[in-house]
């Protein structure tokens, strides 16, 4: 398999894993959100995310099968349910525990903000399929960003209790934001070949938006802080193994099971 094809597959898996893992974390709120309306809202977002994950997994599976004529063919389900923890390429931010509602909202905002500007770039990807998935996803992500921004503002600029919880959430999540903009080698390759996003550019847009929302939410952006990375290469936090144990349980326990 040519080198740049490997990078493209890794890139698609990375994009898919981000969406799948955050979808799974958000889905844990189902039945537990502060009100039935919010329960539906957050599970809607999860459903959007699993749709995005599926599109990228299906494309990755197509690429893998086209370039691996002799081996066993794979499907999107294989990629989601049968890869091990060190093969997952999601950013660490997506696997951080839900915490309280405020922390989940902040995580969604930080990630949707990243996804929004990412898809804006990927619309112009030289790879038609990636461009098409980005175009479909950006409408969903625009709403996720709007919705989560409002929650960050509402809680940050809310009561003393909600404000202090948001300050805590910022402290918890901030060390994981730097990784979003540290390109992995497959991201560099895809940028060079014109199919991937430029993370330097993305970082500027992301910062401006984060700045805008944080100031409205009366939250301050932490100064220089330690950047925790590794997720894009399969080095995950301790949260990832229990997460996958739950996510992959059915396919591991009953291989090939369908319903």
């Amino acid at each position: 398999m040519p080198e740049n094809m490997l990078s493209k597959i890794d890139y698609c898996l990375h994009l898919a894993d981000n969406a799948l893992i955050l979808c799974h974390k958000n889905a844990a709120w189902c039945g537990h959100a502060p009100s039935p309306e919010l329960d539906i809202a957050l599970t809607n977002i999860s459903l959007d995310l699993i749709g995005q994950a599926r599109n990228f997994y299906q494309y990755a599976a197509t690429l893998i099968n086209e370039n691996n004529a002799k081996g066993d063919s794979v499907t999107d389900d294989h990629l989601a349910f049968l890869r091990d923890v060190n093969e997952f390429k999601n950013c660490l931010l997506t696997e951080i525990p839900n915490g309280d509602w405020g922390q989940t909202m902040l995580r969604q905002f930080l990630f949707s903000n990243y996804q929004y500007f990412l898809f804006q770039q990927l619309i112009n990807s030289k790879d038609e399929q990636i461009a098409a998935i980005a175009e479909k996803s950006i409408k969903e992500t625009t709403y996720h960003l709007r919705w989560s921004s409002e929650w960050v503002i509402r809680l940050g600029d809310g009561t003393p209790e909600s404000h202090s919880r948001m300050v805590h959430a910022v402290q918890e999540l901030w060390p994981y934001t730097g990784e979003l903009f540290l390109p992995a080698d497959y991201e560099m390759d895809c940028l060079k070949s014109g199919i991937g996003a430029d993370l330097e550019l993305l970082k500027k847009d992301w910062w401006n938006k984060t700045h805008e929302i944080f100031s409205e939410a009366t939250l301050s952006i932490p100064g220089k802080s330690f950047v925790q990375d590794g997720g894009k290469y399969g080095k995950h936090t301790e949260n990832m193994i229990p997460l996958l144990t739950e996510l992959q349980y059915m396919q591991r326990a009953y291989p090939g099971c369908e319903w």
């Binding site: 009100s35 039935p36 309306e37 539906i40 809202a41 809607n44 709007r146 919705w147 409002e150």
Partner: protein, 123 residues
């Protein structure tokens, strides 16, 4: 101290009046819950907004977003109106006789005595 959890045992409910609220809970929910909003959705350009239901939200912005998530997730709409339920004024059910029944026998108010040309549709 506010009692948040209350256990019920057999006989605690008044079986002759099921669904009757308990004063303690009612008071609590009034103080802590978000106000109720009525939701109107327009399904297509050119059609009216129709009442589809109600939900709880802290303010209008949240009500619109909640309505989007609750009432338009299956492609039902292209526009949403929200109004806080307390601003809706309604007729009294007991007045129904005097308000609506008098119209029952006024068939001359329906324009059924005109011959419409074929070219006129949707009247």
């Amino acid at each position: 101290m506010i009692k948040l959890i209350r256990k019920f045992y057999y006989g605690d409910y008044d079986s002759t009046n099921p669904g009757a609220s308990l004063n303690t809970n009612e008071k609590l929910s009034e103080e802590t819950s978000w106000p109720l909003w009525e939701i109107f959705v327009r399904s297509k350009q050119g059609l009216d907004h129709k009442h589809v239901g109600s939900l709880h939200a802290a303010d209008a912005a949240m009500a619109i977003e909640n309505a989007r998530d609750v009432y338009t997730r299956r492609n039902e709409g292209i526009s949403i109106w929200v109004v806080q339920s307390k601003y809706i004024h309604a007729t009294n059910a007991e007045d129904a006789d005097s308000l609506y029944d008098p119209a029952n026998d006024k068939t001359y108010r329906h324009p059924t005595f005109f011959d419409l040309p074929d070219a006129v549709k949707h009247m």
